[in-house]
Symmetry: C2
Subunit: 233 residues, 2 copies
DNA sequence: AAGTGGTCTAGACCACCTT
DNA sequence: AGGTGGTCTAGACCACTTG
């Protein structure tokens, strides 16, 4: 136990969190102003602010200017996930990475793709299907659409040796990201490419990015059976 | 456009981020010290620190005392997910929530459960199987193990009317959380409870919590076919 | 041992939002 | 219109970690 008279922001955070779990501040309640808490606890307002920032990020409280700080009425479990570049993911497992381009074309976006981007009408995009391999076995099958307007350079990239996944992540910043996870039964073509029995359950990761309001790319990454996603830390 | 001479931390963050994407600071590179950047950009060191804090949280850079700040060598996509209480989730979709207790017992933990907690040997835990309903149809099937040592009160809770899910989230803070997502084929008992065809692909959410080093609870939540998880914001 | 990020303070001003 | 959180500054000290 520290005898330091100074309070660290983590101590302040823990104290406030304890009060929330104590029901001193019940769900929906308004917390005291930062300044009042600072005075009560004996620290600077900035320190309380730092603690609140953390609690707010964790989803425990909600803060509004003038409105004050409120305990969130319904607690949620909030967790962070990292989706690495597929090559890196394979290599970090100590396996040999491989990559096969299956298809590369320019097509009109079907309704499902328009919906992902929120596009009002169909446009031409580049479509890339590719298979990522781990130790020469199928690992992830990706079906990707790339907006040529925001990514004209992609037309020049040799996608037989470098995956669009990697090229985009390294060269194209995004300002908005949408990630979705769901399960599906691997059907004919997908089961064939993944070399897995028909109707196997597979985890699908859908990732869509924009720069400003402009679409960049959307990809449906179908993993092989047994694939797991784990939260960070 | 603001003419203010003062730089906001978001401007500083955007500038640094732009340089990273520019390759001014390439992956793996060391960035200037906060203080040097502050002087170059004309702001306080604290402001650079705030910007770096954000970039660090986003997974773009890595910071170490004495080691300095480095651009992460391999970019990752980092996203946050919220897992609400099941009742809340159903109600927010505008559906009627229902709940059925299937089983409640005290059992020795099998190896799979010991592994989730990292337990060296089997102990007795409370096991609860329950079904969450949405508009009277199966929604999520949960199979939960609760450590009685850290949660003796659970033995007194009436789990026929209130789900363990809800009781624990509201009363038991945790200090560590592990979340996993994966897909599986619904088999006999699970398919029966979820009222879904055998071998249907379903998304599974596995959630394990500890308080300090002590296990609290672990749950395997099997969702119904079509269930999706979306990133926040 | 020393360098670098992390934190704390005190005070000022700003910006958003509710009333 | 005014209250509350958000940010910025300047300076000091701390704590981690690497050379």
């Amino acid at each position: 136990m520290t005898i330091d008279s100074r309070l660290s922001w983590t101590q302040v955070r823990d104290e406030i969190r304890a009060r929330i779990l104590n029901r001193t501040y019940a769900p929906g309640d308004k917390l005291p102003r930062d300044e009042d808490l600072a005075q009560e606890l004996g620290c600077a307002r900035t320190t309380v602010h730092r603690a609140m920032q953390d609690l707010s990020l964790a989803g425990l409280v909600e803060r509004k200017r003038k409105g004050g700080t409120h305990v969130k009425a319904d607690p949620v479990t909030r967790a962070t996930f990292d989706i690495p570049i597929t090559r890196r993911e394979v290599e970090q497992r100590g396996s040999k990475y491989g990559y096969q381009l299956i298809q590369r074309s320019v097509e009109l976006t079907p309704p499902a793709i328009m919906a992902r981007f929120g596009l009002p009408k169909a446009i031409k995009m580049m479509r890339v299907k590719a298979l990522h391999l781990s130790d020469n076995r199928p690992f992830i099958l990706e079906d990707r659409w790339i907006d040529i307007r925001s990514n004209p350079e992609i037309l020049e990239v040799d996608l037989t040796t470098q995956s669009a996944n990697e090229w985009l992540v390294l060269h194209k910043p995004y300002s908005r990201l949408d990630l979705r996870f769901y399960a599906m039964n691997a059907t004919g073509e997908i089961a064939k490419h993944l070399d897995t029995p028909d109707t196997s359950a597979v985890l699908v990761i859908e990732r869509t990015t924009w720069i400003g309001a402009e679409p960049i790319t959307t990809v449906q990454a179908v993993t092989t059976p047994g694939y797991q996603l784990s939260s960070v830390r």
